[in-house]
Amino acid sequence: MKANNLIFAPALKQEFRCRVPLKDARQVFLVNGTVQGAGAPLAFRLEEGEQLPQMLQLIAIRSAEGPQDLSFSESFHFSRGSAGRIILCAHTFSLDPFKTVEHTKITLEEDAHAEFVVMQNEHNQADHETFYEITLAAGATLDMVFLSLHGGIIRNHIEARLQGEHASCNLSGLYLTDGDQRMDYDIRLTHEIPGCHSNQIFKGILDDRGLAHFDGLIRVVPDAQKTEAYQANHNLLVSDTAKAYTRPQLEIYADDVKCSHGATIGRLNPDELFYMRTRGIPVTEARVLQQMAFCNEVVDKITSPELRERMQVLVEKRLRGEFSRCQNCSKNCC
């Protein structure tokens, strides 16, 4: 399906006004995993050299009542030299417990450029498991930002393969848990040929009994020389009962590479906190400022200023313990 063939006008229940649409985006609704509930999985394709003028916002909603699980797949194909920006959002109508399994294939041909922002903002009984299968050809660039704000159990599996010289894959993620939420990232990134670049920065703030697992492997195959691959995972524990597990891994079978990985699990810096309080900033506000600062490194990766500002607001609301629902929405997704 080509971008301009997608149906943009949603026929939806009145109570769900997802959000004030971004000025620079066109919205497409995926009802129960298919375009407008019409049955066929989404297969998005940009032709050679095609430039998507606006962001494409795909809003996946589950309209069914009751606890049935949902499983669907979608694909995004960027032909040679094409470029586009995609926002993937997940929402639900009901507050029933259920699970969504989503398979997403992202293929970038030579010199294609794609930007993805994945927004996971569901309720506490909605489990979501995603499988991303990403391949990049020579000279292709993928910039992808994950924001996991709410959900019961969220598991994101990302498999990225760099298959052409000078491909560049930049993955960033932010996960915020509280209550009994759990968010996992499982990343396998393979440099299959020489001269590619990858960068990963994943950060999480865990409150209450929140739990997160980060499992990230960078693999550099034999003789993939001149590889540059970086990975960082940082976790902030803001309660005594939150837990984070991190497993950064490098497997390198080449000798002329620049690779690094780093992982931390820590707490808010007490010196910063005291400094802010001596200026009259109340302790709760000081903590929010510190946490926002921590999150901004990821949120700042969003290139659209309009989208970035909106995400900053959602993240800030989330950190303040307010419902991080979108503007004008009547649904308490969380």
Binding site: Y275, G280, P282, V283, E285, A293, N296
Partner: protein
């Protein structure tokens, strides 16, 4: 003149170790008090205890500020009441810009005093005006708090923040350490511009040099957690010449 701060028999410890061992000090509105003393005498501890740092435990004594029990207040409540601590080592806060930091601080203090928050234009005007006090470039406002600042820039930022918050009692903990002569002059003139009959300063320093610029009414010498000598400003010159040994000897 009315008493702004009254410290009586103040004892404070960190863990098992007693650092302040009976401090008595009275500060009136309009006064500048200098506190000197050798390393490890408890100067920074005193300033931290007054600002409400919880790593220190007050074991005895009282601190009355403007008629209130200061020690029962949280650090932020002390700031709302008009106390300001200029840090010896200002803290870097990556990701929080100076402008957002100051906006949060100023507007919270206004809220606590029943004032409306400042609008964006008013706030920026105030920032510019106060940055000029310490000859700070406006490019600093967008940068992370103290991040990548030189030692001198950090100290200027402390004075800038003080100018923004207009405290009634400012405690400057070795604001002169690590400053070159020009920075020292800028910092001192910032302090002098903020001096009013209704506020007071406690200036902690090792060097007489700062006191050439910020002229104190009283100088106290702190040693092993006690004030062993209180005198006029000429004491600083004597200390510069003769060191602390004679004072320590005298007190023992």
């Amino acid at each position: 003149m009315n008493t702004l701060l009254q410290i009586e028999n103040l004892h404070a410890s960190v863990g098992e170790k007693e650092i302040l061992r009976g401090i008595n000090l009275e500060i009136k509105a309009g006064e500048v008090h200098a506190i000197m003393g050798p390393n490890g005498s408890g100067k920074s501890t005193l300033s931290a205890v007054l600002a409400g740092r919880d790593t220190f435990t007050v074991t005895e004594g009282s601190v009355t500020y403007d008629g209130r029990d200061l020690l029962s207040l949280t650090p932020e409540a002390r700031a709302w009441a008009g106390i300001f601590l200029g840090f010896q080592y200002p803290v870097e806060i990556p990701g929080v810009s100076n402008v957002n930091f100051m906006k949060a601080a100023v507007n919270e203090q206004r809220k606590q005093r029943g004032l409306e928050p400042l609008g964006a234009a008013q706030f920026l005007k105030l920032m510019r005006e106060k940055m000029a006090y310490v000859e700070m470039d406006s490019s600093f406002s967008g940068r992370g708090v103290n991040v990548g600042f030189s030692g001198g820039e950090k100290k200027r930022n402390e004075i800038f923040q003080m100018a923004m918050l207009e405290p009634r009692l400012a405690i400057l903990d070795e604001t002169d350490s690590g400053l070159d002569v020009d920075a020292l002059r800028i910092v001192a003139s910032g302090v002098n511009k903020l001096k009013r009959p209704d506020n007071a300063f406690i200036v902690i320093t090792h060097y007489q040099r700062l006191l050439d610029y910020i002229v104190p009414d009283v100088i106290h010498v702190l040693y092993k957690g006690r004030i062993i000598k209180t005198a006029g400003k000429e004491l600083a010159l004597e200390i510069e010449k003769k060191g602390y040994d004679w004072l320590i000897h005298e007190s023992e």
